[in-house]
Amino acid sequence: MSKPVPTEPAVAVDGLVMRYGDKVAVDALSLTVERQTITAVLGPNGAGKTTTLETCEGYRAPQQGTVRVLGLDPVRDRSDLIPRIGVMLQGGGAWSGVRAMEMLRHVARLHAHPLDTDALAERLGLGDCGRTPYRRLSGGQQQRLGLAMAVVGRPEIVFVDEPTAGMDPQARRATWELLEELRHDGVTVVLTTHYMDEAERLADRIHIIDHGRLIASGTPLELTRGGSDARTATIRLVVTRPFPPGTPDSLRSTLGSETEVTQLDELSLVLSGPADASTLAKISGWCDANGVLPESLSLGQRNLEDVFLELTGRELTP
């Protein structure tokens, strides 16, 4: 007899509020994660990503709102839920004197049907450092061991917190490929990141959070297209001397209401709107008329960085 395919989402967060003292870390956050997808929670440091993840992992009880993972309450149903999820913490998690493979085998032994630890280690490029004590592993090796520990128990969901922070490009690619294979094999992946390229490349769905609030959700394409005009592009203008006062308004009136103007600092701003020759000509004309010398004027497709900038007026990765 085949099991009925579960219909409830892998993760459902509803109206979650978490405070540390006076500081609100998560502010009425609601989001869902569909099964067998890679879902990225994207936001700057301190946005509330880790706190949200830790309520899903049962480390913290929601102060307000509800959190369900695989339909279970992570605190109340902890003993049922925990064996079904895999967790990669942001750092640490091993004895300083334990050898890499010894640690991985130990975690494997706590599970009923673990993966082959040697094959997994090989896959993650940990084959050479199997006998190295944890404290002597590089940051990237520690990260990969953390990922291996998260998946070795063959979980239904893995929560990975900033999985590629501190990794070299090669290890990063290996990690991305592993996460994609997990999804292919039916595992739900929830990752936090502040790398937009990571979210853009990997995620089926992205939740952007800032100051503990959900500010946008969608597929990478939906988010970068802004839902409307596919010709929308982003123009970055950097100048040699500070912009005169009132620059954003002055530019907007020059370029028309279709163009969004966001000033980043006194020397740079971002325009987003129709990208055609006439817009570029108008920008040059405006610079000339205002005595501003452009140092660079670059044109590109909207990416998540630009989306974040438009939504918050700040850059994601300063």
Binding site: I82, G92, H111, A112, R154, L182
Partner: protein
């Protein structure tokens, strides 16, 4: 399962049986304890030095006891071994586990807290048995001729472990890792010198009537009675039980796993 692609990572979650998890945890912690140089020093080297030094010293200074020196010192050194492992090693190890996020990491593994605690107790008992074997071999080589009361010895061993382990966790739970390291070593040294572990409380003069109520004095005496007189010392065992209950109560109120 029709949607299942059955790849390498196809989900098949589940916890190992409880006893297997506890055995794995105990073996792991015991290995780590024995691998750590400082811990090994505490567990084996210091007790053996105290034993040989005590017996030789008594011989050279012509100090005599009611029984041969090795018979007097060995039970005390066994008590010292319990104290070093159940109190000092456990406190230091747990303190650093908290610091390095090991306990947090294990919190998201199938091993429940009760299993973690059981694993720690298992590791302590494993290491202690090993210590007993080494110390006994050295003692026998020095001519140890014990008159053993097995019940008293086993109860002293278990209740001593329980009392010191609960106090060790208490220290690890309230102090930071470095402070735990310092405090656990300091308490160990103070009790070694003045806690009536190796020498009977009677050697401390008037102070002896105080130290016999300490877990160190009670454990030392319970061991001495079990190995010298072949008796079960119910009073000392009761003292250890009270320490174990008090320590467990205070630990349960203050200890946080992270």
């Amino acid at each position: 399962m029709s949607l299942d692609q059955r790849g390498t990572f196809a989900p098949r979650p589940g916890a190992a049986p409880f006893h297997r998890m506890v055995a794995a945890q105990a073996a792991m912690e015991a290995r780590l304890m024995l691998r750590n140089g400082e811990q090994l020093l505490l567990a084996v080297v210091i007790p053996v030095i105290v034993l040989i030094g005590g017996v030789e010293g008594a011989h050279r200074m012509g100090k005599t006891f009611a029984h041969p020196a090795v018979d007097v010192f060995t039970p005390g050194v066994l008590a010292l071994a319990v104290m070093s492992t159940a109190f000092t090693s456990l406190a230091i190890m747990t303190g650093f586990e908290r610091r390095y996020g090991v306990i947090k990491r294990l919190g998201s593994s199938p091993l429940p807290r009760a299993g973690l605690l059981a694993g720690k107790v298992g590791a302590l008992l494993l290491v202690e048995v090993l210590q007993f074997v080494v110390i006994s071999i050295v003692a026998l080589a020095l001519g140890w001729d014990p008159d053993v009361d097995p019940l008293g010895a086993v109860l002293a061993f278990l209740l001593g472990t329980a009392a010191f382990a609960s106090l060790g966790l208490l220290v690890a739970g309230v102090l930071r890792a470095e402070a735990t390291l310092a405090a656990a070593n300091l308490v160990y040294l103070l009790l070694l010198a003045g806690g009536a572990v190796v020498l009977p409380p009677s050697s401390y003069g008037a102070f002896g009537s105080v130290v016999q109520w300490l877990p160190s004095g009670a454990l030392g005496d319970a061991m001495r009675q079990a190995f010298i007189d072949g008796r079960t010392s119910w009073l000392d065992l009761a003292v250890l039980l009270v320490w174990a209950v008090a320590g467990t109560f205070m630990t349960s109120r203050t200890f946080t796993w992270e």
